[in-house]
Symmetry: C2
Subunit: 203 residues, 2 copies
């Protein structure tokens, strides 16, 4: 197999999800650290993905993105059971859990830009508040889920990448208080090697 | 088959893509118009999707989102050839075109919020400029594509929803000037019934 190179940043939750999926599928990725910013260009990255976002997989089939497309690509290449469920009912609950997790990551990254990059005098409190409330709304719903949190699949990988990103970038958000099951779930999940080997950087 | 209800807004490009996919697959959707805003809640919508985004498909398998998951769901239900290619090479070029189109829609919706909803004194010109430049970067790349623009599939549906959304929400963006092939492609694509029957509202 030709080597696969992943353009990523260690702080990207979307890239972490892809790295976890690759480890779980026993696929070796060459990791190439790059940089992304909401206000700067990155000509090297733009050459392969004009959206200038990570992750991007450089593959024999050309540059592949975004995170969801890469995960499906890796799922076809690797070994062992698929990360996508085969049972119809399970398939859609896992796909929708993945969408919820991607949505939490989207909101959390936008909040990071708003609160950490945008000049302070241009921040919009009303928008910030509603984004955090939506993230907590997702956690409230996921707290009640029983079936689709079990096992290693694209939904649980995404959720773990999303929750741990909240801890990394928004440590003041008290999400554990009202979500004891999720909190215990993440603590267990953190013990997997695919989590230990893809940690966000120390801040 | 149980009736399927789509929660949507007429102005959402993501919902338009789903409506186009349903028409192409000959699947009847009940359309339920709702409202979304970056700074307001919508308790009815939040009950089915805590991210408070459209589109959401109310299905016998539960609420299904986001747009990509719904399109895959409809693809399994409907008639005729799949919207997802079967050839390996084609599959990934179409999937990446879908990701580019979703990325253009994401950026264009965020720009709409920044320029149309966020108080004027809180706008961030540097961020606005780079988002528009990324959208144009995508168009520059897609202008060179020859193969994956042919035919009705999830990539071309997404691209048409994205480009027509630029015309709808950002009519001052002179994207046609440097993209004659894309411009001609969209003019042809607009003749499909699936486009005529899903138009954005008049502004």
């Amino acid at each position: 197999m030709s080597p696969l190179t992943l353009l990523y940043t260690p702080a990207s939750p979307f890239a972490r999800k892809v790295r976890m999926a690759a480890l779980e599928r026993r696929i070796k990725l060459e990791l190439l650290d790059t940089h992304v910013s909401p206000i700067l260009s990155n000509p090297e990255l733009a050459k392969v993905n004009p959206l200038v976002k990570v992750p991007v997989l450089i593959s024999p089939d050309g540059p592949i993105y975004d995170n969801r497309v890469i995960c499906r690509y890796l799922d076809r290449l690797g070994e062992g059971p698929s990360l996508y469920a085969s049972e119809v009912a399970e398939r859609w609950s896992i796909a929708t859990l993945e969408a919820l997790s991607d949505g939490v990551m989207d909101a959390a990254v936008l909040l990071r830009y708003e609160l950490g990059v945008r000049p302070e005098e241009l921040r919009w409190k009303q928008w910030v508040d509603i984004q955090f409330s939506r993230i907590l709304g997702v956690l409230e719903q996921v707290e009640k889920i029983t079936d689709s949190l079990v096992g290693l699949h694209i939904g649980s990988l995404g959720l773990a990448a999303a929750l741990s990103y909240l801890d990394f970038r928004h440590p003041a958000l008290p999400w554990r208080e009202n979500h004891p099951r999720l909190s215990a779930w993440l603590a267990d999940f953190e013990e997997h090697e695919i989590m230990k080997n893809t940690r966000y950087p120390q801040v």
